[in-house]
């Protein structure tokens, strides 16, 4: 267990009848950047809260930075930094006062505190704003300050719960640049949750969460290749007929999704000429896309990220995507 930053077995959390986290297992190596990916309400934040000792698990064990979250709460807290989804800054205090508050509560020796404040302010690019009240900061600056504050006590594991939520795309990108910079400079384990697919690609490994359970854990690349196939979408003169032909002649499982006949095939670009030659039904449009994490999510959960926020659906396509993977 020496080189593990996070070690979780059978972790469960129920609120009455509602099972927010349903028995997850997890191992995160030291120095790794690990991501929880899933839609809102998948149980990511609840799992993080247990790992950060804010909430007690209903069952199971979790060891973070070498300490049990249930029995060694203070030790865990000392060794982790947490940036919550919602801001936890005091907007009436200056950036520096917020940092000092943190340093005092974490018991940093005074001389070291000064040094660390300079270091983290520099890292998140707020050195020249240190004496400004947080009230005057933009959303992105506040986030950066929170990340800096989370690092102040030199934690071994940094938890970032939806670090870019509510920020515009440009600011989101800049937050990820700061996180990348942090990884360059420091050997730290980062545990991040997100419901943005493109952000999950920054991680070394991702666990896809759905309805309180981890559906699959792997590197972004491995996950994408596990889905294996390219996604082909065609509009034809007779869609039901096209689906039948695809099944009989090509052995492909196709379905209508968003008004297009959609199916997965190993090499989409090579398949298209064959399709035109052998389908025997007029084709209006064709698009071929490489698998994205969206597809991965759908393949493993039967839902698109968008679907899960609206409700259920798209299970036919998911089955098809699974059929396409070997």
């Amino acid at each position: 267990m020496v080189n593990q930053a996070v070690h979780v077995r059978g972790l469960e959390k129920s609120y009455g009848d509602v099972r927010a986290v349903g028995g997850i297992d997890l191992d995160v190596a030291e120095g790794e950047m690990f991501g929880f990916l899933g839609p809102n309400g998948a149980g990511k934040s609840t799992a993080i809260k247990i790992l950060c000792t804010i909430t007690d698990a209903t069952a199971g064990t979790a060891v973070v930075a070498g300490h049990d979250v249930r029995t060694e709460r203070a030790e865990v807290r000392r060794n982790i930094g947490v940036v919550f989804q919602e801001s936890t800054l005091d907007a009436y205090l200056t950036a520096e006062q917020n940092l000092r508050f943190h340093g005092e509560l974490y018991g940093l020796p005074r001389r070291l505190l000064r040094e660390r404040m300079d270091e983290v302010l520099e890292l998140v690019g707020l050195t020249d704003r240190r004496h400004d009240p947080v009230l005057k900061f933009s959303g992105g600056m506040r986030r950066r300050l929170e990340i800096g504050r989370g690092l102040l006590h030199a934690p071994r594991v940094l938890f970032l719960d939806e670090p870019t939520i509510g920020l515009d795309p440009q600011t989101r990108a800049s937050i990820w640049e700061y996180i990348a910079l942090l990884r360059q400079r420091q050997d730290i384990t980062i545990f991040v949750t997100t419901h943005y697919m493109d952000e999950a690609e920054h991680c070394d490994r991702i666990a896809i969460m759905n309805r309180g359970e981890i559906v699959v854990t792997d590197t972004p690349d491995a996950l994408k290749s596990s889905v294996g196939a390219d996604r082909v979408r065609v509009r034809t003169e007779d869609d039901p007929a096209a689906i039948a032909v695809l099944r009989e002649r090509f052995g492909l499982d196709a379905a209508i999704h968003d008004g297009m006949v959609t199916f997965a095939v190993a090499d989409g670009a090579q398949f298209v000429p064959r399709l035109f030659g052998e389908l025997g039904i007029g084709i209006d449009t064709v698009t071929v896309t490489r698998p994205s994490l969206d597809d991965v999510f759908m393949a493993y959960t039967g839902r698109t990220m968008g679907d899960t926020e609206k409700g259920d659906g798209a299970s036919a396509l998911a089955r098809m995507m699974m059929a396409g993977r070997r």
Binding site: S87, D90, L105, A154, R185
Partner: protein, 286 residues
Amino acid sequence: MSTTIQREVELPAAPGGLAHELRATAMVWRREMIRFRRDRTRVFAMLLQPLLFLFVMGTGLSSVVSVSSEVDFRTFLFPGVLAMSVLFSAAFAGISLVWDREFGFLREMLVAPVSKTSIILGKCLGGATTATLQTTILLALAGLVGVPYDLGLLLSLLGLLFLGALMLTALGVLLSARIKQIQSAMPASQLIITPMMFLSGALFPLANLPGWLSVLTKVNPLTYVVQPMRSVVFDHLDVPASARAALDPAITWAGWEVPVVLQVLIAVTCTVGLIAAGIAIFNRTD
């Protein structure tokens, strides 16, 4: 300045233990002071009401209230108005935990490797200090209403004010554990504090009251802060015994006169109890 943060600069293990907890308490206290300094509007807004009570209501009523010709009604009112002022500021400071929760800062405090006890203590002491500081401005007006500038008197009053402030901040903290919405924080605290203020004898002497009212004033812990304040003031006034008996009557339990020292002791006990209750309730929730 070094720009790289290396894991090799391993931080010494946080001290833990009492010194660390005290530092946390001191820091929470300091945050209250910083916010107090920043918020001048609040200081002046909170001063307006007691000034109105003292100089407008006090002056207006002094022609009607002729309890004693030797003592200015405003002199009688002075300790009560001081208590009233500290009361509302302190309760507000305590209940501000509801705002801390709403704006997330409570979570920053609660996720730190310190006990909730240290945090709640810092919050209570900080609220009590700011409320007392604010009331010091009123205390400076003593001479205008015939209360002498006597060092012993002023220090006793300050001490009692701090005690009352601590009691009410603790009460505010206790309430904030139950109140989750900022919209209901102010009305809920008014609902509890206004009756406490009226039943403490801050605005009228606790003499010749009907039985039900007399009982209510005696079970009100705030009475044991306000009455000692008034007694201290009257100790420093040159008034006939009859006037004092009318304006500063002794608190009696079934005919027994409760000594001022015991009154203060009761107030201290209640305050400690309220702080302990606040700590207990936060340890169970949040």
